[in-house]
């Protein structure tokens, strides 16, 4: 799913302002970046169709709100992108991560590895 520049701005706006109809959105953005009411209406509509916004009819206009909070959406996307159809980070994940995200490290093991690195550093310093 690709998001255009205006789509991103509108999403950020709705994350900050909870809910708004197209007139409110237009009134906020028009002085800053211009554009017609129709442009904002179609952008909100596109975001709704992409499943990022929810809307409710109030009077003659739709009132839009973000479906998920920004941090929730990002968290979901990171989790989804970094895991695959088999399971969480079992080696078959489609990404290449710097460190496993499985969090199944043993603290003692980490301490041992750190000591080993420190020992190597000391040996190197002594040689130098």
């Amino acid at each position: 799913m690709k998001l255009g520049e205006l789509e991103k701005l509108l999403l950020h706006y709705l994350w900050q302002h909870e809910c708004a109809d197209v007139k409110k959105v237009y009134a906020y953005f028009e002085p800053k970046r211009g554009g017609s009411l129709n442009t904002y209406q179609s952008t909100l509509d596109r975001l709704y169709k992409k499943g990022l916004l929810a809307r409710q009819k109030e009077g003659h206009a739709f009132v839009y709100r973000a479906r998920v909070e920004r941090h929730q959406l990002i968290g979901q996307l990171i989790k989804s992108v970094t895991t695959d159809f088999v399971g969480e980070d079992d080696g078959s994940s489609l990404i290449a991560a710097f460190s496993s995200m499985s969090q199944e490290f043993n603290v003692d093991q980490l301490n041992q590895l750190e000591s080993l690195i420190e020992l190597q550093k000391q040996k190197l310093n002594q040689k130098g």
Partner: protein, 320 residues
């Protein structure tokens, strides 16, 4: 009952399937027996061996099917019943036989794998585009995600992109960030996410335990290769190992450390192996190419000669 060219083609496919299954069992046995030995191989040798292991059933099935097709077309398949390979009803085929049922099941399974992997590919692309849209570009093909999570990864099949979270940047020093990003850029340059996806498709034809082992070995090899790419005058292998352990600790902090089962054990070993590799504590050797070639040729001839034997053995139980 089918006969003629169509029957020949379907029989050849059935032969390819039997051969594939035999090779699959052979590779599974090799992986089970030599699981730890793989860790003693140099990284490029290990990667080549893993690619060979996952692709050898396909290559072998193709070679065997080609041989049978050629032999059947040249009427040599029945001339000598004691020849290395023969098939006693190559010109007739029935879908209501065990050949037909296994072939139909195999086609169904293959379609399932292809469809699910394409769907995953498509979903992954869409989510990735979404993540890019919500991230800040901090370099060419490098993005910062505004999240407190501790993560750095490379994703994307055609144009891989590197991601680092704000949380990771806040918790690490500038030098550590350089190491992390260089590591990710090395993955992107090698198109590792796409290779992992391709490898996972080939692994999907093995039983889950073998598939996971193969995937973990490939993951480790890719990570070691990317770690190796970061070593330069500014970043010593000790700095990289230190960063790796620090990030692992950050990932683990606040979480209950689970007791290790077989997979988790190996997952932890991935970190250990990477650190030992960076500290030069592993005595890695290149693969013995001659031995590998002998094993592959022997397995191929064993499969070729046992295709009809297996066929007769199964038909002792099932009807045509």
């Amino acid at each position: 009952m089918l006969d003629g060219t169509l029957a020949l083609l379907l029989n050849v496919l059935a032969i390819a399937l039997v051969c594939f299954a035999l090779h699959n069992v052979a590779v599974s046995a090799i992986v089970s027996l030599l699981n730890q030995r793989f860790l003693q191989l140099q990284v490029p040798s290990r990667k080549a061996t893993l690619w060979l292991l996952v692709s050898v059933p396909w290559l072998s099935a193709l070679c065997t099917a080609s041989y049978f097709y050629y032999a059947a077309n040249n009427n040599t398949l029945f001339e000598n019943q004691t020849s290395v390979a023969h098939w006693h009803h190559v010109d007739t085929f029935s879908w209501l036989s065990w050949h037909g049922l296994t072939l139909a099941s195999a086609i169904g399974f293959l379609s399932y794998i292809v469809i699910t992997r394409i769907a995953t590919f498509s979903r992954h692309r869409s989510e990735l585009a979404h993540l890019v849209a919500l991230s800040e570009r901090i370099g060419s093909n490098t993005y910062e995600i505004q999240s407190t999570d501790i993560a750095a990864f490379t994703a994307g099949f055609i144009k891989p992109k590197c991601f680092i979270t704000q949380g990771m940047r806040q918790q690490t020093t500038e030098q550590e960030q350089t190491i992390i990003l260089k590591h990710e850029i090395a993955h992107a340059k090698r198109r590792d996410p796409f290779k992992k996806w391709l490898f996972s498709i080939l692994c999907a034809f093995y039983i889950p335990t073998i598939s996971k082992r193969l995937s973990l070995h490939m993951t480790l090899a890719m990570e070691q290769e990317a770690d190796n790419a970061v070593i330069c005058s500014e970043n010593s292998s000790l700095d990289i190992a230190g960063t790796l352990v620090k990030v692992a600790r950050l990932n683990a902090s606040g979480n209950t450390i689970k007791n290790t089962d077989m997979v988790a054990n190996f997952g932890a070993d991935v970190l250990e192996q990477r650190v030992y590799f960076l500290l030069g504590q592993l005595n890695l050797k290149p693969v013995n190419k001659l031995l590998m070639l002998i094993i592959i040729i022997a397995t191929f001839f064993l499969c070729l000669s046992s295709v009809d034997g297996l066929h007769h053995f199964i038909e002792a139980v099932f009807k045509h």
